[in-house]
């Protein structure tokens, strides 16, 4: 469904991504991990064209992301994205956050959008907070609303950019639970995270990145049991020690 071929990207003279290739099949859950600054976030932001890239090719269901002729807003409407810092719109209620793009992009009537928002809020366990503003919600609650906002577009795939990194420890699980539920329902997902518990539970494959390269791309069990690269072994030993 998502094909990434020899993707390279530079910030000026600095090369952030070097010939990254991988693919994600329908219903697959891919966890991307690696030390900070390794290009994980940049990689998934390239998938929906939020970051431009210089070399290589990304296709989503056959549509080329880097092609100038591609209608990017239309493509993005079909790929959900969840950010590290939630990025809910602070001037709108939870319900309106979820309705906005439904109304403006999918041209759903307001009442239908609100009804869909209500269903999704219920799904992420936030039904009673529909009329609250983001400022009155905890981080975990905000992130669950952000997931609902992405789901409202009925996406074919979801991208998660460190969805729990900005959360207090006691809120991480409520977000992970929602994500596990999504994975079990068959959603295609690319998740940048350091939550190895989540990875071992629902990931199909783990992609390990270091210094802008994909160092390892292996089925989850192989990755955890016997990572082939030294870098990944070291990373795992650090992250799993506690």
């Amino acid at each position: 469904m998502i094909e990434i071929e020899k993707l390279s990207k530079w910030y000026g003279a600095f090369r952030v991504l070097t010939e990254c290739s991988t693919s994600v099949g329908k219903g697959e859950v891919i966890v991307v991990c690696g030390p900070s600054g390794s290009g994980k976030s940049t990689l998934i932001k390239c998938v929906n064209g939020l970051e431009p890239f210089e070399e290589g090719k990304i296709t989503v269901e056959g549509i080329s992301v880097g092609d100038r002729k591609t209608d990017l807003p239309k493509l993005r409407a079909r790929i959900g994205m969840v950010f590290q810092s939630f990025e809910l719109y602070p001037h709108m209620t939870a319900s309106d956050n979820i309705s906005l793009a439904q109304i403006k992009v999918l041209r759903r009537p307001k009442s239908a959008a609100a009804e869909r928002a209500r269903q999704l809020l219920e799904r992420v366990g936030m039904a009673e907070h529909a009329d609250k503003y983001p400022g009155n919600l905890s981080g975990g609650q905000q992130q669950r609303v952000a997931i609902a906002r992405a789901l409202a577009m009925d996406p074919i795939a979801m991208l998660f950019d460190e969805p729990t990194s900005a959360l207090d420890p006691e809120m991480i699980n409520e977000v992970l639970d929602v994500m596990v539920g999504l994975a079990q329902d068959g959603m295609t997902m690319i998740v940048v995270t350091h939550e190895m518990g989540f990875a071992s539970k629902v990931a199909d494959r783990v992609v390990f990145m270091d210094e802008g390269r994909i160092v390892e791309d292996a089925p989850k069990d192989d990755f955890f049991r016997a990572p082939r690269s030294e870098r990944a072994t070291l990373f795992l030993s650090k992250i799993l020690r506690h």
Binding site: N48, L50, R78, M81, E87, P90, H91, A101
Partner: protein, 218 residues
């Protein structure tokens, strides 16, 4: 010497009201004109095209570096030369106010837009909104809330600055009051009254925007 009594104030009230109308009109037109031009300049200043952004920056720096009273004089003598006939103090002063305020509004609007986190734009784009839709539905409403206090301060400043039209003979509130004061020899009372009116209007504006701001606080 006329005594400064309530009956006297009542008598001269229509004259003062004429003056106040000029002041209010001048303020309103300058706000609309300066606000519009300022918004355009802010968009230009945030443009990705270097020459365009540079032009807007040059405009802002030029007009912020000149005394307002000089601009009023300047347009009083310059505009008639350009259009070929005298245009009167009101329009030349208005031109000066609009061009001057546009520079300040440009900076206020620009910093308001920049105060909105870049992640908000990415979030909007990620849901399939176009850049324009993202600006209108997500960035500008937040920018406006952030700008409100400075926008108000600048508007109050403008309201008070319109008194400068005195120098080109426009009969605004202050000028009219001064003239009446001279005629009836009631300077002291008159200028106290003028101060009171300015004070009450500006304070009222501050308070009402404060309330507005609390209601729309993010």
């Amino acid at each position: 010497m006329t005594r400064f009594t309530l009956a006297y104030i009542e008598k001269i009230l229509p004259l003062l009201w004429d003056g106040m109308q000029v002041t209010l009109l001048l303020t309103a037109l300058s706000l609309v004109g300066g606000g519009t031009l300022g918004t355009v300049l802010a968009v230009l200043r945030l443009s990705r095209s270097k020459p365009v952004a540079l032009f807007a920056a040059a405009y802002v720096n030029l007009f912020r570096s000149l005394p307002l009273i000089l601009l009023i004089f300047w347009f009083y003598f310059l505009v008639p030369l350009i259009v070929g006939h005298p245009v009167g103090g009101f329009y030349s002063a208005l031109t000066g106010f609009i061009l001057f305020e546009a520079a300040y509004f440009c900076e206020i609007i620009r910093s308001g837009i920049q105060s909105v986190r870049r992640g908000q734009i990415l979030a909007g784009l990620a849901t399939g909104l176009t850049y324009r839709q993202t600006m209108r539905a997500i960035v500008l409403p937040q920018a406006l809330r952030n700008m409100l206090p400075v926008l108000l301060t600048e508007s109050i400043n403008l309201f008070k600055s319109t008194a400068l039209v005195y120098v080109v003979g426009v009969r605004d509130f202050l000028t009219t009051a001064g003239m009446v004061g001279t005629r009836d020899n009631t300077f002291v009372g008159m200028y106290v009254l003028v101060a009171l009116v300015y004070f009450v209007l500006c304070l009222g504006a501050s308070l009402s925007v404060g309330r507005l701001q609390r209601r729309y606080a993010l």
